[in-house]
């Protein structure tokens, strides 16, 4: 490197370092998220549900937004870990919820790994089929082995020990919410790290142009297997969180509606910038609350309408609204939110 290129090198280093820096908006988001513990004391149950949904949606974003895999079957991992964590608590195999949570995550990740090879074959349609098929199959299995799983009645008799021996989950949901929020945050940090790593960059390349990715030496299949496994693990953790904080697990964890609602959440929030699942979850829960007040029975109709409307209007236009806002903030703060390229730095 010649002396003349030293400023260029510094420029490149600076750019790459800045790429992953936390923007003020991100920091503000999480401060607000944790502040909700004190801001909304009566709403712990719905907040907790939102946090779980956010983690679940984050898991889907990792594969849809970053790897381009469309899945209708995240519920398989959610449900598997849900039952797994419930069963190991019920039969006293593992008492400490945090350890049980991690084990359940690994169980789901194992399922993800095994099914990833099927998922990666074939077209979008076969992918939909396999992912949907696996989750419906698991639902069938859970239904059949009702001696173990409680069948249609759900898993009964689950008692969850206090977290770290001290924090018991109570009816008001305070401890439950804090637990879920912390787990969400930790998983988010992990996801963020992955996304800004060389591995994360290679995933984006694979999503854009798998042919070229393989032509520059990226082992495409193995990268996809890896992210699919991680995503399954996250979905599993979300499922286990639900079981642990409600001491209950039922067959609807495997349902098509759950996977479909998840897609909706992600579409509302946008994919590919990590916050889509979180923001989408919040909006979805607010929508659900609002619509359920209006028409308690037929809210599925309105959700369907929202989906149809979003697609007709155009996800890009909605996402475009996001992007315009983001671009504005980028110019304002000169920092990154998500993955948009930084505008060219000033020349000396």
């Amino acid at each position: 490197m010649t002396p003349a290129t030293a400023p260029l090198a510094a420029d490149v280093s600076r750019y790459l370092a800045r790429r992953a820096r936390w923007s003020p908006l991100e920091i503000g988001f999480w401060i607000f998220a944790f502040a909700t513990i004190w801001l909304f004391p009566g709403k712990y149950l719905i907040l907790k549900d939102t946090a779980i949904l956010a983690l679940f949606a984050l898991s889907l974003d990792l594969i849809v937004g970053y790897a381009g895999i469309i899945s209708l079957g995240q519920a398989a991992f959610f449900g598997l870990a849900g039952y797994f964590s419930g069963l190991i608590a019920k039969y006293g195999i593992v008492d400490e919820p945090v350890i049980a949570l991690i084990l359940s995550g690994f169980a789901a990740a194992a399922l993800g790994f095994v099914t990833s090879f099927l998922v990666l074959r074939g077209s979008d349609l076969t992918r939909l089929m396999v992912t949907l098929g696996v989750s419906l199959m698991l639902g069938e299995i859970a239904n059949r082995y009702s001696d173990l799983t409680g069948g249609a009645d759900g898993l009964q008799g689950v008692t969850i020990a206090p977290v770290l021996g001290r924090f018991r989950f109570d009816l008001y949901g305070h401890n439950g919410y804090v637990y879920c929020l912390i787990v969400l945050f930790v998983c988010f940090l992990l996801a963020r790290r992955i996304v800004y790593s060389p591995f994360g960059l290679s995933l984006r390349a694979v999503k854009e142009n798998a042919l070229r990715a393989s032509a520059i030496g990226i082992p495409v299949k193995w990268r996809l297997v890896a992210i699919y496994t991680v995503s399954a693990g996250f979905a599993g953790i979300a499922g286990a969180l639900l079981t642990q904080t409600t001491a209950f697990c039922s067959l609807d964890v495997f349902s098509l509606e759950r996977s479909a609602d998840l897609l909706l959440v992600l579409i509302i929030g946008g994919t590919g910038y990590l916050y889509g699942g979180l923001i989408g979850a919040v909006i979805y829960k607010l929508l659900q609350d609002w619509i359920a007040d209006l028409t308690p029975q037929y809210w599925q109709f309105w959700i369907g309408l929202v989906l149809v409307a979003i697609v007709l209007v155009g996800r890009e236009r909605i996402g475009g609204g996001n992007a315009a806002l983001r671009a504005f903030i980028v110019r304002l703060g000169g920092r990154l939110l998500g993955r948009r390229a930084v505008p060219a730095p000033d020349r000396q």
Binding site: I303, G304, V311
Partner: protein, 286 residues
């Protein structure tokens, strides 16, 4: 055992009639229409209303269900679906799932959530006993109707000009357009026809598959499996796939009751491992 075979064939042919519209849509426009089951449901409920409440004879109710659903399909195609053709598969999935949700809730609201039973004429109840094979009369009707339909479909595809235009458009849309084929019209007609068939299948199948507002959600996976296993480049592919799945499902549930429902899923997974493009698809991947 032959009764099982008979039942399986009947079930398979029913599946075929229900699913073939989906297969053609996917093969023709590369469009994943998850709301296909909603049209089947519409046909079923249409028949229920006609036969149970308005006293229309069952055998007349069937073609009316076909027509009504075909019109509905055509209407939806021109007003809604046409805007979504060029979109990504993800958008198509979302869009059609949204339609499913809306249809399920709408039917629940208007018709209630309980199971519906079509009043089948006396003549179709009970069964014939032929050499020890119990052939349900209703299932016989299904086989007859579906068989005729399948042959008619093959003839239309192979012998008529519309059929050749359709096959051309499935093979290569751009070239077909370049040859002056009005692909949009071909698709509209095909979509309507496929939806009509689904409606007919729903009407016929109410007796065997049951009919309630959750029908599209329950059976979506079966239609998708038929299309995946059978491929989208022919009529015979989904036909054979349906028969295979029908027999597999019925036999599985009879011989291995605890795991019977898995047979269909297991077949799907095995096929997808072995031939990701479907058992009967062309070698050219889409």
């Amino acid at each position: 055992m032959l009764t099982i075979l008979f039942d399986g064939i009947a079930y398979g042919m029913l599946l075929f009639v229900l699913a073939c519209g989906l297969s053609v849509t996917l093969g023709l426009m590369n469009f994943i229409n998850l709301a296909h089951g909603s049209f089947a449901m519409a046909g079923g409920y249409c028949t229920v209303v006609l036969v149970n409440r308005m006293g229309v004879p069952f055998l007349l109710g069937l073609p009316i269900a076909f027509l009504v659903t075909a019109l509905l399909g055509g209407l939806f195609e021109r007003t809604l679906y046409v805007h979504v053709y060029a979109r990504s598969h993800l958008d198509q999935v979302l869009f059609t799932i949204g339609l499913v949700f809306m249809s399920v809730a709408a039917v629940d609201y208007t018709m209630g959530s309980s199971q519906q039973f079509v009043q089948i004429p006396q003549a179709l109840q009970g069964q014939f006993d032929v050499y020890g094979i119990g052939m349900g009369k209703y299932r016989l009707l299904i086989i007859a109707v579906c068989g005729v339909l399948t042959i008619a479909l093959q003839l239309i595809l192979a012998k008529t000009r519309f059929g050749s235009r359709l096959r051309a458009a499935v093979d290569d849309q751009r070239v077909a357009r370049g040859l002056g084929i009005n692909v949009g019209a071909v698709f509209a007609i095909t979509f309507a026809f496929g939806s009509g068939l689904a409606g007919l299948g729903g009407a016929l199948g109410a007796e065997i598959l049951g009919l309630d507002p959750t029908f599209p959600l329950k059976y979506m996976i079966y239609f998708l499996i038929v299309v995946t296993v059978g491929g989208t480049s022919s009529i015979t592919g989904p036909f054979l796939a349906s028969i295979l799945l029908g027999i597999g499902d019925v036999a599985g549930k009879y011989y291995v009751p605890t795991l019977g429902a898995f047979v269909i899923y297991a077949i799907m997974i095995v096929v997808l491992i072995w031939r990701p493009q479907g058992l009967f698809a062309r070698s050219v991947a889409r």
